[in-house]
Amino acid sequence: MFILYKEKIYIHSFIDLNMKKVVIALVLILVLSNCLQQPQQQQKEIIIYGSGATFPQPQIEKWISEYGKINRNIKIEYAGKGSGAGLNDFKEGLVDFACTDPPVSEKMWRELEKKGQILQFPIIIGAVVVIHNVPEVDGLKLDGKTLAEIFMGKIEYWDDEKIKALNPNKKLPHERIIVVYRSDSSGTTEVFTAYLSLSSEEFKKDVGIGKLVDWPVAKVGRGIGGKGNPGVAAAVKNTPYSIGYVELAFALKENFKTIALKNKDGKFVNANAETISSAIKATSVFVPEATEGYKEDLFAFINAPGEKSYPIVSFSHVVIWQSYPKDKSEAIKSFFKWVLTDGQKHVIEGYVAVPEEVAKVGLRALEKVKGT
């Protein structure tokens, strides 16, 4: 390592040099943190922490920023980690609220209840859309059963008779269908497999419903896994003749070709604000009271009746405690009350505001929140 030709040793005081730096850095940090803290001390600001589902994260960030313009003393920090991770953080008391796409399961609910009464209510609606990358055609239509067969690997080519029958006027290419699915545990997959299971007995039996399922199509070598919505979106974009499922917001942002799905009334519908709220309005009676959120059934909102109803919609929920320390309870009440009323006017593309009757579930829940 060292060249041995000069007998010279620098006895620089190595330690002293470092000490100086440490002191300078310390002073810098102190000055910096003082500068930043001074304005805050005057206002006495409250920070609420939340974590959970990634799906509503952009919407929540939008709300946080809009709400921040009205109320400067309450700040909210939200970390998108996934529904499961968020509920765990919430259970351990690491965060003040959690967001979850599927409703809290009864088992988790009971565990949480040991620590205090919890409240769950929907804050925003989303939809899962089927996207494809067949350059030749646009405006494809499919029904749940055919879709299930595609995702099971039973239908191998785009010009299969069953797809042709649903799209009589389209010129479908004789190309193999590549199926893109979520490789990570995801609420999107749960909602999507719930829809496929409702549409096809065979899918229910062979694959089932879950956040993570064994896709049969992966075993025949025509499947690609993608991590998160971005992973699936990227895989579909880069793979010609592929098909996949993502949240509506992602499909819109990336300008994907979406597939119109056949709803319960036999009409083919695309996901948009109108068709999604139609589905929710038809099923809003199934939203349980906030104190018994575990009773909510994911299936109740899928394949909703109504001519205009889009079949794969789901709520994103927030979970909060019934009691908080005094100042925090006021902050939480104020923020979520705003979210459920004025906040619903600041909805970004790809999400749909909850209808008034559903928002009331949340508003009633917030009445119950008490400071201790």
Binding site: M1, F2, I3, L4, Y5, K6, E7, K8, I9, Y10, I11, H12, S13, F14, I15, V22, A25, I29, L32, S33, L36, Q37, Q40, E45, I47, Y49, T54, Q57, P58, E61, K62, I64, S65, E66, G68, K75, I76, E77, A79, G80, E92, G93, L94, G228, N229, P230, A233, A249, F250, K253, E254, I348, E349
Partner: protein
């Protein structure tokens, strides 16, 4: 003739191979500059001070993340470097004792240890008992990640000093402490400082260790060591997973800031610490 040909062929091969090895580095620096620089130009100075904007709108800034990264790096260096240096000295000074050999082996294991497990470990021993994500938990996780690098580099650097200098120092009547800290340290300082820098760079750039510990905060500035704090790598990880182009732009800008911070620590110190020619 043939020998010369072989020689030059091999030389070309080595140059090419070196080029291939360093290519990713240049590509990263290049693409981060190309994509990140326009963002910072567009956002201006407020990119360093503002908080995170809502999706699909303006660029605003990443102030809390920058401050968070500095705090995490500073704290973890403050805790980690002294401990790790002492461990390195111990391993170098007592090369044959059982504990020293065990220390060396364990340090090498720690270098290879998956950082995500460190994160989980710190979550279970610090975050859960405290009941909160915090800057201090993030710093502890980073300490665990950075320490083996610092210790191993220190040990290697001290070991590379020829024995005769130690003997000469003893012959002058210096105490062991003086021999180690004044003679050996000074001679090996380039290697040791490199170890410090790699440790600091690790702390500034790692994502996994702070994933379950720091908590993240991008709209509020640092308010205390026991409160959640954000960091640039964590922010980038969050932002690229969302479909909004302004978030992707901010992520590129953040990557450039991270790169600049990294180069700003690394290059000047690396150059200013002169190698000791023996």
């Amino acid at each position: 003739m043939l020998r010369k040909l072989k020689n030059s062929l091999f030389l070309i091969y080595i140059v090419l191979a070196t080029f291939l090895v360093t290519l990713p580095l240049f590509h990263i620096i290049f693409s981060v500059f190309i994509n990140g620089f326009p963002v910072i130009l567009k956002a201006g100075l407020s990119f360093l001070t503002e908080t995170l904007p809502p999706p699909g709108e303006e660029l605003a800034g990443i102030g809390p993340a920058i401050l968070g990264t500095f705090i995490l790096t500073f704290l973890s260096s403050l805790i980690g470097i002294p401990i790790a240096t002492l461990a390195g000295i111990y391993a170098a000074e007592y090369p044959n004792s059982f504990f020293s050999r065990a220390t060396r082996t364990l340090l090498l294991v720690m270098i290879e240890f998956p950082t995500i497990l460190v994160s989980l470990f710190v979550m279970s021993i610090v975050v859960l008992p405290m009941g909160r994500f915090s800057a201090i938990a993030g710093a502890i996780a980073l300490v665990i990640v950075m320490m083996p690098y610092v210790a191993v580099y220190t040990e290697q650097a001290l070991k590379s000093v020829p024995e005769r200098y130690r003997e000469a120092a003893y012959a002058l009547g210096l105490k062991r402490k003086q021999v180690v800290f004044r003679v050996m340290f000074s001679i090996a300082r380039k290697g040791i400082v490199t170890g410090f820098l790699i440790g600091i760079a690790k702390a500034a750039g790692e994502t996994a260790p702070i994933l379950f510990t720091a908590g993240g905060a991008y709209r509020t500035f640092f308010i205390g060591l026991d409160k959640p704090v954000g960091a640039i790598p964590l922010l980038i990880y969050d932002l690229v997973q969302q479909p909004y182009s302004n978030y992707h732009e901010i992520a590129w800008g953040s990557a450039l800031i991270l790169l600049i911070v990294f180069l700003a620590i690394f290059i000047p110190v690396r150059l200013s610490v002169r190698e000791v020619k023996l």
